[in-house]
C-alpha cells in the first residue's frame, strides 16, 4: 500500500521509506547515466579514474613544482581525487530538480531525495576511484600505504560533507536563478588551483597561507595528505574552522532545499 496517509508514520517507517526511495533513485540515476551498454555502470568510477590518471601523467611529465619532497604521483592522486569530490557533486545537483521535477508526482519522493541520490552516486564514484587507484599504485610501489588510514578517511569525509552541502545549496539556488549554473563553471575552474590540489600549504609564504586557509576544501585535502604522508610533509589544517563552516553550510543547504520544494512547479 502506498503510504501517503497523513497519519504520521513512525521514524523507523519514515527511514525505511527514505531508504527505499533513495535506493530506487540511485539505481535509476545509474541506469540513466551509464545505461547497459559496454561497461555500463563501471563508468561510475572508471571515468574519474581516467581523469585522475590523466592529471597524474600530465603533472609527472611536466614535473610540476609543488614545493615538497613528496612524489608527484602521490601528490596528484590525493589532490585531484579531492577536486573530483567537491567539484562534481555541485555539478550534478545544479539543474537536477528541473530535469527531474516529474518525479515529485510520486508522493514519497522529495526534492532532497533527488539531491541525496545524486550526491551519493558522485561520492561512490570518486571514492571507489580514489581507493582503486591507491591500491594499484601501492601494489606497484609508486606509493607508500597511508601512514594513518583513519585520518585519510576523516579528511575524505570532510571534503565530502562540504561538497554535499555546497551541492545542495547551489542546486537549490539554481532552481531559483539560472545564473548559478553559469557562474559555477568558471568558479569551479578558478577554485581548482586554490583548493590545495596543486600545492601544500606549508610550502607557501606565510601571507599566502593565511589566505588559502580561508578556503574550506584546503583543510580537507591537507588532512588527507596528513593521513597519507604524515611525517614526510607538514600538513596545516584547522578542524575548528572547517567543521563549523561545513555545518553552517549544511544548515543553509537544508533550509534552501525546503524553501525551493515549497515553490516547485513540476512539469
Amino acid at each position: 500500500m502506498a503510504s501517503t496517509s497523513s497519519d504520521r508514520p513512525s521514524l523507523r517507517e519514515s527511514l525505511g521509506i527514505q531508504g527505499r526511495v533513495i535506493g530506487a533513485l540511485l539505481i535509476r540515476e545509474t541506469l540513466t547515466r551509464y545505461g547497459r551498454h559496454n561497461i555500463g555502470f563501471l563508468w561510475l568510477f572508471v571515468e574519474p579514474m581516467i581523469f585522475t590518471l590523466g592529471v597524474t601523467a600530465l603533472w609527472t611529465a611536466t614535473k610540476s613544482v609543488h614545493g615538497s619532497a613528496l612524489p608527484i604521483v602521490a601528490f596528484a592522486l590525493t589532490g585531484y581525487s579531492s577536486v573530483l569530490l567537491w567539484r562534481n557533486m555541485p555539478g550534478r545537483c545544479i539543474g537536477a530538480l528541473t530535469a527531474n521535477s516529474n518525479l515529485l508526482y510520486h508522493r514519497n519522493i522529495k526534492a532532497l531525495d533527488i539531491y541525496i541520490a545524486r550526491i551519493l552516486l558522485e561520492f561512490g564514484g570518486a571514492t571507489i576511484s580514489f581507493f582503486a587507484l591507491s591500491l594499484v599504485f601501492i601494489s606497484i610501489d609508486w606509493l607508500a600505504p597511508p601512514e594513518d588510514f583513519l585520518t585519510v578517511v576523516g579528511g575524505w569525509l570532510i571534503i565530502s560533507c562540504f561538497g554535499a552541502s555546497l551541492a545542495i545549496t547551489l542546486g537549490a539556488l539554481s532552481y531559483l536563478n539560472e545564473l548559478v549554473d553559469k557562474f559555477w563553471h568558471p568558479a569551479s575552474y578558478l577554485l581548482f588551483p586554490l583548493s590545495g590540489a596543486g600545492f601544500i600549504v606549508a610550502a607557501l609564504p606565510p601571507f599566502a597561507q593565511k589566505v588559502v586557509l580561508w578556503i574550506p576544501m584546503v583543510h580537507g585535502v591537507e588532512m588527507v595528505r596528513d593521513g597519507y604522508f604524515g611525517s614526510q610533509a607538514r600538513a596545516i589544517y584547522d578542524l575548528g574552522y572547517v567543521i563549523p563552516f561545513t555545518l553552517a553550510l549544511a544548515a543553509s543547504a537544508l533550509m534552501l532545499a525546503r524553501y525551493v520544494s515549497k515553490r516547485l512547479v513540476p512539469g
Partner: protein, 478 residues
C-alpha cells in the same frame, strides 16, 4: 477523505503575481467522484497537482487520509532514457511492490510485447499512453486523479481503460478534470466549475454545464482576441483546425452539437454545428457533420452544399463519397454534370469555393449575408475557382460597390474585427501589402465598408477574372 481547506495558489511571473486558485475548499470522501469543468488556463491542472502533493499550496492546507495517485495517464512520471521494464521496476521500488507481479500486469494490459524492453523515448505517443496507463493501474490507490484523458489510443484501448478504472476500481474516489464534458457527465457524482480561480459546486451536471457554458462566453458574442491573421487562404484552411480546437467556445458548441446528433435531434444539431462554424468557417470536418445532420433531416440542398464545402476545404473525397452520392441521388443530379471541386493548395484565386467563401463574397459584393439554400448550392457547385466565382458575382445585377467609410471614423476603431471581416481580408489582401492585415480588417465594420476598403488596399490583385469583371463594371457605370 481529502480535505481541501482555503487553498490558494499564486505563481510569480515576469509581470507580477498571478492568482491561479483563490480560496478553494471542498472535501472528497471515499468513493465520491468529483468532476471539474473549466476553460483552458482556469487552474484545473494546478488543482490536480496540489491534490497529488507534487506542488504545495501558497496558502491553506490539503489533508489526505487516503492514498492519492499521480495524475493518471500522465506520461511524464517515467524516465525516457530507461526501458519500460526499468520504469516498472522503479515504480515498484518506490511504492514497495512486487515487481514480477506488476510486470506481468503491465505486459498483459499494455500489449507492448518486446517493446517493453526498449527505451521509452523510442515509443510512439500511443505506446506511451498505454504504458503510462498500465503503470498507473499497478498501484492500488484510494483516490485517482484524472487529468484530460482520451486524446490518444484507439477505441478498444479506451474501453479497456474505462473497464479497468470505472469497472474494477469503481469504488474508489476520483477527481476528474476535463474539457470533454460528456466524460465528466458519465463518470462523476459531483460537479464543479472552476473559473477565475474560484470553484463553484453544483448539485447536478446540467446546472454545472450551463454555468460552464456561460462562463466561457457562449452566446455572449465574445471572441478571442486576434494577434495576427493567417498570411493567406491556404494557411487559413490548413491551420484552422489546430486553432479551433483550442478555443473553448468552439469546442463547447461542437460538444453540444455532437450530443444532439447522438440523440438524433438532427435539425438542432445542424443549427449548433452552424454556430460553431460561424466561429471557424474553414474547419472542414464539421462541415461534414453539418452535412450529415442536414441529410438526415432531409435538407438535401444544404447537405450537398456542406459536403462540397468539406471537399473544397480538403476533406478527402473518399470519406464523403457515399454520403454525397446519396444526397445527389435524392436531388436527381449527377456528379458528372456538376463536378466536385477538391482542395488545391495553390494561391487563393485558384482554390475551389465553399460556403464560407460564397458568403464572404456575398457580403462584400452584394451586401447581404442571406442567400437561399438553392442559391448557395448553385454558387458552390459553380465555384471551381474563387476567381471565377467572384467574377460571376461582380457581373451579377446584385453587385453594389458600397460606400467608403469616413476616414476619421476608421481611425478610432481598434476593437476586435468580426470573423467574416478577418477572413475576407485574408482572402483578398495581396501578401505584399504593407498595411497590417488586422488593421485592414478593423476598417471593415459594416458590409458597406468591405468592398471600398478591399479596393483601397489593392485587394484581389492578380485575380484576372475578377479584375476583368471590375473593369467591365466601371465601364458600364462610367
Amino acid at each position: 477523505m481529502i480535505r481541501v481547506q482555503n487553498v490558494s495558489k499564486i505563481y510569480p511571473t515576469r509581470f507580477g503575481e498571478k492568482l491561479v486558485l483563490d480560496d478553494i475548499s471542498f472535501n472528497l470522501d471515499h468513493g465520491e467522484k468529483l468532476g471539474v469543468l473549466g476553460r483552458n488556463g482556469a487552474g484545473k491542472s494546478t488543482l490536480v497537482r496540489l491534490i497529488s502533493g507534487a506542488e504545495l499550496p501558497t496558502k491553506g492546507r490539503i489533508d489526505t487520509s487516503m492514498s492519492v495517485s499521480w495524475p493518471l495517464a500522465f506520461g511524464g512520471a517515467f524516465q525516457d532514457t530507461l526501458t519500460g521494464v526499468d520504469n516498472i521496476r522503479f515504480i515498484s521500488r518506490i511504492y514497495n511492490q512486487d515487481f514480477e507481479k506488476n510486470l506481468a500486469f503491465v505486459e498483459d494490459f499494455s500489449e507492448l510485447g518486446a517493446y517493453l524492453r526498449e527505451e521509452v523515448r523510442t515509443y510512439s505517443s500511443g505506446m506511451r499512453a498505454r504504458l503510462a496507463f498500465a503503470i498507473s493501474m499497478i498501484i492500488e490507490f484510494d483516490c485517482f486523479l484524472i487529468d484530460e484523458v482520451g486524446a490518444v489510443g484507439d477505441a478498444r484501448f479506451h474501453q479497456r481503460c474505462n473497464k479497468e478504472l470505472f469497472g474494477n476500481r469503481g469504488d474508489r474516489a476520483m477527481v476528474i478534470i476535463s474539457h470533454d464534458a460528456s466524460y465528466v457527465r458519465d463518470h462523476c457524482t459531483r460537479f464543479a466549475v472552476l473559473n477565475d480561480g474560484q470553484m463553484v459546486e453544483f448539485d447536478d451536471f446540467e446546472t454545472a454545464y450551463s454555468d460552464f457554458r456561460e462562463k466561457i462566453g457562449i452566446g455572449q458574442k465574445k471572441q478571442p482576441k486576434t494577434q495576427e491573421l493567417p498570411a493567406d487562404r491556404r494557411q487559413l484552411v490548413e491551420t484552422t483546425h489546430s486553432v479551433a480546437v483550442r478555443d473553448d467556445a468552439f469546442t463547447v458548441l461542437i460538444q453540444d452539437a455532437d450530443w444532439k446528433r447522438d440523440q438524433k435531434r438532427w435539425e438542432e444539431a445542424e443549427v449548433t454545428y452552424e454556430k460553431a462554424l460561424d466561429l471557424y468557417p474553414y474547419q472542414r470536418s464539421y462541415w461534414v457533420q453539418k452535412g450529415h445532420c442536414a441529410k438526415e433531416a432531409g435538407a438535401f440542398l444544404r447537405a450537398e452544399a456542406a459536403y462540397r464545402t468539406a471537399c473544397a476545404l480538403g476533406e478527402p473525397f473518399q470519406d464523403v463519397r457515399p454520403h454525397l452520392l446519396f444526397t445527389t441521388k435524392q436531388l436527381r443530379i449527377s456528379l458528372r454534370d456538376y463536378p466536385l471541386h477538391n482542395y488545391t493548395g495553390t494561391t487563393a484565386k485558384d482554390q475551389p469555393a465553399g460556403i464560407p467563401d460564397v458568403l464572404l463574397f456575398a457580403r462584400a459584393a452584394w451586401q447581404t449575408a442571406h442567400l437561399s439554400d438553392q442559391e448557395l448550392l448553385d454558387l458552390v457547385r459553380a465555384g471551381e475557382t474563387l476567381d471565377a466565382l467572384l467574377a460571376s458575382m461582380i457581373d451579377d445585377p446584385r453587385f453594389v460597390p458600397g460606400i467608403a467609410p469616413e476616414s476619421n471614423a476608421a481611425q478610432k476603431i481598434s476593437g476586435e474585427p468580426e470573423v467574416w471581416a478577418k477572413n475576407l481580408v485574408v482572402l483578398a489582401r495581396p501578401s505584399s501589402a504593407s498595411e497590417d492585415a488586422i488593421a485592414v480588417a478593423r476598417r471593415i465594420t459594416m458590409p458597406q465598408d468591405a468592398w471600398p476598403v478591399l479596393m483601397d488596399v489593392d485587394g484581389f490583385a492578380g485575380w484576372s477574372l475578377a479584375q476583368a469583371a471590375i473593369e467591365r463594371r466601371s465601364k458600364a457605370d462610367g
